[in-house]
Symmetry: C2
Subunit: 338 residues, 2 copies
Amino acid sequence: MATIKDVAKDAGVSLGTVSKVLNGIHVSDDYRIRVEESIKKLHYHVNPNAHGLKAQKTNDIAVIVPTLMNALFPPMLDAIEKELNTCGKRMLICISRNDASKINSYVSTAAISRVDGIFGVTYSKIKDPSLSGVPMVSFDRHFNDKVPCIACDNEGGGYLAAKTLHKKGSKNLLCLWAGSDYDSEPIHRIDGFKKYCEENGIEHNVLSFMDYNQADTGFMYPSDNYKKLVHGVLSNNILSDGKFKYDGVFASSDHLAYILLNELRQNNVKVPEDVQIIGFDGMEDYITGVPVISSIRQPIEEIARTGIQILLKMIDGEKVKNVTNIPVNFVEGGTTRS
Amino acid sequence: MATIKDVAKDAGVSLGTVSKVLNGIHVSDDYRIRVEESIKKLHYHVNPNAHGLKAQKTNDIAVIVPTLMNALFPPMLDAIEKELNTCGKRMLICISRNDASKINSYVSTAAISRVDGIFGVTYSKIKDPSLSGVPMVSFDRHFNDKVPCIACDNEGGGYLAAKTLHKKGSKNLLCLWAGSDYDSEPIHRIDGFKKYCEENGIEHNVLSFMDYNQADTGFMYPSDNYKKLVHGVLSNNILSDGKFKYDGVFASSDHLAYILLNELRQNNVKVPEDVQIIGFDGMEDYITGVPVISSIRQPIEEIARTGIQILLKMIDGEKVKNVTNIPVNFVEGGTTRS
DNA sequence: ATGAAAGCGCTAACAC
DNA sequence: GTGTTAGCGCTTTCAT
């Protein structure tokens, strides 16, 4: 593999001149052309190790996600990669599997590996990532003012869910919540839900399951945690006449909503006729591209894009906002009445 | 960020000694302990740029996939990351979106970026990747003997599909094929299908759609290409009595199978009662973890793991097999009779 | 067993 | 405008 030295020799110029051509610093046309020709001839490309050693940066962005097996993340990563591509950066993926120690070590390794920045999706109890000194943007979680947070409008989403259930005829609403709560932005969905109900005098209740242990294993995949939880909820809330106590449910995720849907139907509760369900995320079936559940959709591509733009600004030393919220919208998925 | 120099100074030893401790070369216990303590105290970690510059490698593996929006790839990447983790390598993801020029440039950039190896999933007309000089393992595609191929047992899969349809009562089989054919291993599924039918004297036909242009855009996502294709097939093969001409279909992918399923049902053809369908891949619903279609399942995690193991051997200069096939199995998904 | 020093490929400051 | 050179952090001879 050719080095800058080979190019210099071939072109009959000095190292410095080649470096200048490489870095777009002006040299005489004659020299520039000779250097460019040698570069092409020798198939020269800069050695990123050497360059990084000098420049103390790598053009690599580390992305931390808990899993790839959740429909939220592939499109997120896709959008990130697209955005990164436009500015010549590369995407390094870290799958945390919700292992706090793995995240901690990723974050500190990030500084070591001289990644230029981190885009992190973390739901575990981890150390303050700003300590690493590497610019980081966090999705769905606001650590502190050194780590800007990008998220959808969670409160607005909860509000919209309650409003939609209500407008479509539900009168007794349940917010069913399961998940982590570490510095978590999604928790504000509950606030929005309550706000709408209170503003409009709607009968409502919140059943919230936040177990620190569960949070680490995650309500992230089709897990037994969810099933047990839903089971418990149903056995406590199916009335003696076989009806469900609520006629509208806002679930904290599409996963949870989907499991609730199945359990309700198994109990001969009709959805959406008797009970309407709205989830969160707006997951689409991989094959059909169709929503699997009525849901508050997070515009995940836009979130990713915006988050990366913020990160790139940070890397360039610009000041950025602490929390950025992207608007959500309702998508019809068959579990609400039309 | 502490350097080896800082550690040496703090421990009161020379650079070389620290380096030796770092690399597990024997030094006196006294020195070793002092160095280890300084390392801990200063939170020292090796600088991969400097290390890579010396070692001429990066510990990065580039993975090229056409998309993340196909249920095959997230679990593949997940398995790759896991495998890479065990040996301290990192995963760099390139999403090609079936853009041949992007792949070409990725592959040559790989050499440049000094990634240690490439795991590539490519279905486009690209340049010989072995020219880059970077060790590469290719999924589903056998370029040449310098680029080992990892794939499932495609021929066996086609054979198994025909056999399963037959054993479950179908008598007139169709193999419906859509996709790329560049050096493609999956094409052997057709061979296996034919082989079983011919061995057992079963009435059968193959309808194959391989369009070079389509191949680049890809039969990879829920696209109109698929729908048009299936539409054409149906209009040519729905008999005057409203029945479908075949009573068993082996489709080249679950995507295709799924679209066929929907179209058949819309034409009042009963699946699996009148027509059985078997797809390929073994996709599972993200939320439920349940297969979406009766299918020949590629054990994608094992494929990924094995492929990476082969790649790591190549990087270490070991000789490896040209083509490695991983056995497949049939999974019941509701489109075949029990 | 340990330390000194060369050099990996590159950039940037400096001298010409 | 161009060439020379120091040095980024590390490994690895080669002396000691």
